[in-house]
Amino acid sequence: MSERKLRAWQAAGVIDADTAQRIRAWEADNGRPLVLWAVIGIAVLSIALGLISVVAANWDDIPVLVRLGAHFALLAAAAFALWYLAHDADRPWREEALLFVFGALGLTFFGHLGQAYQTTSPLWQPLSAWLVLFGPLVLLRGQGAPTALALMGVLVVAVWNYAVWSRSGPMEVLRFALPTALPLVFAPLGAVLRYSSRRTWFWQRLEELGFAYGLGGASLLAIIAGFERFSRGGDSPQMLQAILLWALAGLVAAAVTWRARPDPSGRAAATVLAGSAVILLLTWPLSGNQVIGALLFMALWALVGWMALKGQWRGVFQLAVAVLALRLIVLSFELDDDLLTSGFGLIGAGLLILAIAWGARWVARTYAPAKAMPEDAP
């Protein structure tokens, strides 16, 4: 607790001298000895680094069986601790941290196996194996953002690595578009399970991640549509099929979310998902034009901003305004590329950026929904 802050608050009349004194007393009793913790942390870190470097320096001299055995023993110990902690409802973070470590140990075990037995395989294979082996556990026991993010991260890397790896061959569209649509599943899944599970926090994070994947994918495609014409070229039929499949996945996700969450926030999330699907469909005929690509992108994010108002998502609204402003700035440079080649151009560009930034800041402050409980996020 900063003494300076306390004094500033007291001077501004936010708190009175009595309160300030009580805060000081409480902090003195309950404050954490940060310096001591930092010293302990540095010591532990140095011991850990030393251990790692001793092991690394003698890596070749440690028999494969011992190395892998120690790794596996760590995994077993983490599994035992997780079993022992099964229903520690008071300390969900302990379980979350342990689960994360267990998953990380499992993922590195694949790499360790490859190194010990000199085998190599494309990245998606160990990642898929990890998803099959650890996915059920994470879905059953995950408590919050770290494991949700890990699950989403592994899935996204696995499906995109697979999609790139298996580019040619029979059923290439299905093998490309179906896996890459898969992370979207988390949006409706989280929407359905956040009310029926005790682990609301975890399912909400997963829903947000799925939502972000869909919105991000549509945004990316709208950006690409600004400079590439999807309906031309040898692989354009495949592109059309992939877009149709993705859009269908987005619409299904939107429909399930709409049914599962009748509250304004749920309705808004479903609308954004459906809007992303519609934008995807529009990129097919409209791609290849800078301005239209930018308009598609801005239409999507205008919808995001509007729905953020309806769903009372303060952070998302401000993000939408910022993204729109940035796209506008980029568009002005795209349309007039000699803005940077003359003195007047530079001055004009600077003024334009200032005006857009000021306008965006004014909109974001004036119209943003009030700060709400975190539960109200999409």
């Binding site: 085998t119 190599t120 026991r141």
Partner: protein
Amino acid sequence: MNRALLHVAALALPLLGLGASWLTTARASRQGTEWEVPVNGYDPRDFLQGHYVMFRYDWPGLERGSGQAQDLCLEGRAPRIERVQPAAAACRYRIAVATGPWGGRLYASQDSALRMQQQLVDPKQQGVLRFRLRPDGRIVPLGLTFRPRPAEPAVTR
């Protein structure tokens, strides 16, 4: 299904799966025939993925770039390779194209990876890779040795 049982099963699944993966990898690494092939190396280390030497195989009798999308067939008496050519239907020692028959990597400690890299770029030395060809067509590198390169025009890399 009983909820407690479900949790135990979800915990046991990773351990069983990783254990089975370990067993099968260990068993597969003992199968197959051992061969030797000259190699050219590049890019010794990658700090993110651990230490290893990367190399390209110099298959005897095969032009680089020929038969790119095809399985390869080894001919000869192990460990000596007589020649390598694109695989016909019947082939005793087949290298699966999906496993990358053009180059590979050998994991090694930091010191030996550095040493091997220096030897690989030395024009007077020829690296020879001992590898095991598994029945499924995968190449498992075993070790890298060096012998004096015969006096001939330097191999372009």
